[in-house]
Point group: D2
Chain length 141, copies 4
């Protein structure tokens, strides 16, 4: 039997950019999604931290999945904002997104990104955005 998490992973696997990044969907349920990304040297910037673009990729995608869990699969991220809280340093990043409010056509979703090293986690970014339902599929991510 195919679970919601299986379905979400199938969508993620269809995103070539997510494959390039190496993101994994570790939780996917109603109003909530968690994406993880192992950090490797080519995801960093010049000072050894995860590049801001890596963090905003994770935010964008985690927001979209969480919003999609509320609205259905044909969704698009219309907009979001991200605040970087501290340098992202560790062996992996974890983006946890949850829906604040979902109407018929739009969901507003928040996300926090944690940098993890072993059992230790530190929040390093916070995001908030709008996911919009499409009549016809156009873009997820």
């Amino acid at each position: 039997m195919s679970t919601m998490l299986d379905l979400g992973r199938a969508v993620l696997a269809q995103q070539p950019f997510s494959a390039l990044m190496g993101a994994e969907l570790v939780a996917y349920e109603a109003n909530r999604a968690i994406l993880e990304l192992p950090l490797r040297p080519e995801l960093l910037q010049q000072n050894g931290f995860a590049h801001g673009g890596v963090l905003c990729y994770l935010a964008d995608n985690a927001l979209t999945f969480a919003g999609g869990s509320a609205l259905g699969s044909a969704v698009v991220t219309s907009e979001f904002k991200i605040n970087y809280l501290r340098p992202a340093l560790g062996e992996r990043l974890c983006a946890e997104a949850s829906v604040v409010h979902a109407g018929r056509s739009q969901a507003v979703v928040r996300c926090e990104i944690f940098a993890a090293q072993g059992a230790q986690r530190k929040v390093c970014a916070a995001a908030q955005g709008t996911i919009t339902h499409l009549a016809a599929p156009r873009k997820q991510g």
Copy 2:
């Protein structure tokens, strides 16, 4: 003689993630930066458009460069927001950032991202964010 553009390109070359993405700095002057990114299959999402994470990487980095041109090189992007305007389809993306206002320690910067195919360009995202000067270098990007 080393130009400002040369210096900016040297910073970009030190970002492993920008090398992975394939971004090029095509203009860099006071209060302004332009980044280009040739689109290739692994930068797309499941419907054939550039992934939102690719667009927000470009916005993040173009904002940082433009802000850095006003504040000095030791800068960090504190936050930004992005609105996706239309699916990003074409042979390359071009992110043009310019400073709205720069104070001593912060600059507020805007950016538009265009998808280009041959001579045709269409705006596909708009961003606005804050670049902060650091006493000691920490992160650019």
Copy 3:
């Protein structure tokens, strides 16, 4: 003959909060709106500057009018962000909004707010947001 500006002023006059604030629509045309607000003591905060809430009222409303000029009158501001650039000091504020991109159902709009004293103007805030068309009228502002 009723002009577009007359129609916009009639909408503004129907907003009790805009009457309380004292805002005036000074320009209203396709993809563009300008709101002015004379500053008086009760619009200030404790240090003598215009309160941030006054600036974001102006941004919200100018964005809505500009978006409404592109989409039609039954519109709602879905979201926006504002960056405060410098303390707002002067005899009046002027919010100038223009559409970045308008689709069928949404417009993305930007706005700058200037503080003016006599002939001198200084930019004191920059905003960007989404205006959404409604099938049935719900909210403008």
Copy 4:
């Protein structure tokens, strides 16, 4: 003995615009602030809902107070974004802000605004922004 809530109320009382609006600080403690605002006809827009400018005033001010509780009193709201979730209808609004992360000089804060009628409350907006510590007092609000 003067409590933290008393001190916060004294700051709010020094803001002429907050007096015009009629806002009350009902909770103020480390990393958290709650502002309430009784709705009256002059705070509405043309369809009978609270004007968006009223909601963003509340968000701006609640974010500033919560950030100020973490950073000290000389703070300024640098930027924020707000998503409107549903029309704000009721006898009062309640803005609840809490700090996501505070460093030495900046705090990132989130806020939800609820519209209340009797014992019933509905979330009608969500905001996220940056509060910055100032060496010398400049603006709160």
